[in-house]
Amino acid sequence: MSKKEIKNTGTEATRSDRAEATRSLEEIFEQRIARDEKIEPKNWMPEKYRKTHIRQISQHAHSEIVGMLPEGNWITRAPSLRRKVALLAKVQDEAGHGLYLYSACETLGITREELYEQLHTGKAKYSSIFNYPTTTWADMGAIGWLVDGAAIINQVPLCSTSYGPYARAMIRVCKEESFHQRQGFEIMTKLAQGTPEQKAMAQDALNRWWWPSLMMLGPTDAESVHTEQSMKWKLKRKTNDELRQQFIDQTVPQADLIGLTIPDPDLKWNDERGHYDFGAINWDEFWQVVKGHGPCNKERLSARVNAWEEGEWVRDAAMAYAEKQEDKKLKKAI
């Protein structure tokens, strides 16, 4: 059946034939996803599927790359060698994760240069959480524990998403990410057990990162425009509100354990629901940051643009060298 319909998309088909064929192709496509079959780069896919995936995967890649900046700030000032090697390894992983994801995204027919261009011009977004400053060492703890914790909750379901290259990249990312959260929690634990000043520093970091971490899981289901379609394509397997609840339920006992207080007076266990109830999230702040008015939006973007522009001569030199070597080899062969 599918073969006949694919032939219909040939040049002789009339416009209505083609529309009909596309509809059937789309049906076959949706059925494949419903059967949990993966979609691979050369398979036919609706244009909207391709575009949505480019948007989400690139946004994810950009987040990994921009996400190196707030932590890079503390590598040279890590308090011990143990902390320094861990932070270095974590930031290097983030670079790697960005690269896995850019490669996955490129299989959808967009070039790396176009992807960078979209980031640098502000057309593509990255996670709004990286627009907050890292003012103390405890922020390295809070980021690992909360931001990576929230990221893992978001990412684990993506390991079984419908687009093959994205799912494979996510499996690698998730495998590597769990050390990120643990090293952050270890930093928080040690600070919370330290001097009163150290404990205050940990509490202050928790106060500042808690709400942005909740926002990081995305707008409420009622506000989220992409959720329904993304669930169908298994690009999303749980809604933002479900993920947020899961994050809160899992994190609150961890804070209790190390003697830190979640900065939410309305936070209370609800026996009936079997979940924590929590206070209202300041979504105005979220949208402000998304629209570019967060504390560090300009700084983050200009750091990326500068790195790209100032690295141009290095990229050109490497290409020139490669071409020269190639020429030499050819001449020798003659």
Partner: protein, 94 residues
């Protein structure tokens, strides 16, 4: 942006005795750089003992639209499988 680095495919043998498997891709100016980048991007946790890189443009891939004529002919050739042949019950191992 006049000279964009080409795309390379990376294959890694995770240990001797196993085949190289496709791990992903990356951009690099030449093969030497592709190998070095592949080491940093794909083997940060001892995932490999050997890496192959090949420029993506050198790979010829089959088109999924031709999957019918390419792969369906194998479907009705059950006689290529041992289960197609009947053996007397007395023969235990063959």
């Amino acid at each position: 942006m006049k000279n964009n680095w080409p795309l390379w495919e990376v294959f890694v043998r995770s240990k001797n005795g196993l085949e190289h498997r496709h791990f992903g891709s990356l951009h690099a100016a030449d093969a030497d750089m592709a190998l070095k980048n592949a080491r940093d991007v794909y083997t940060r946790r001892n995932e490999g003992v050997s890496i192959w890189v090949v420029e993506s443009k050198h790979i010829t891939a089959s088109n999924p639209e031709n999957n019918g004529e390419l792969f369906e002919p194998a479907q009705d050739k059950v006689y290529r499988h041992p289960t197609f042949y009947s053996l007397p019950d007395e023969v235990k191992h063959m």
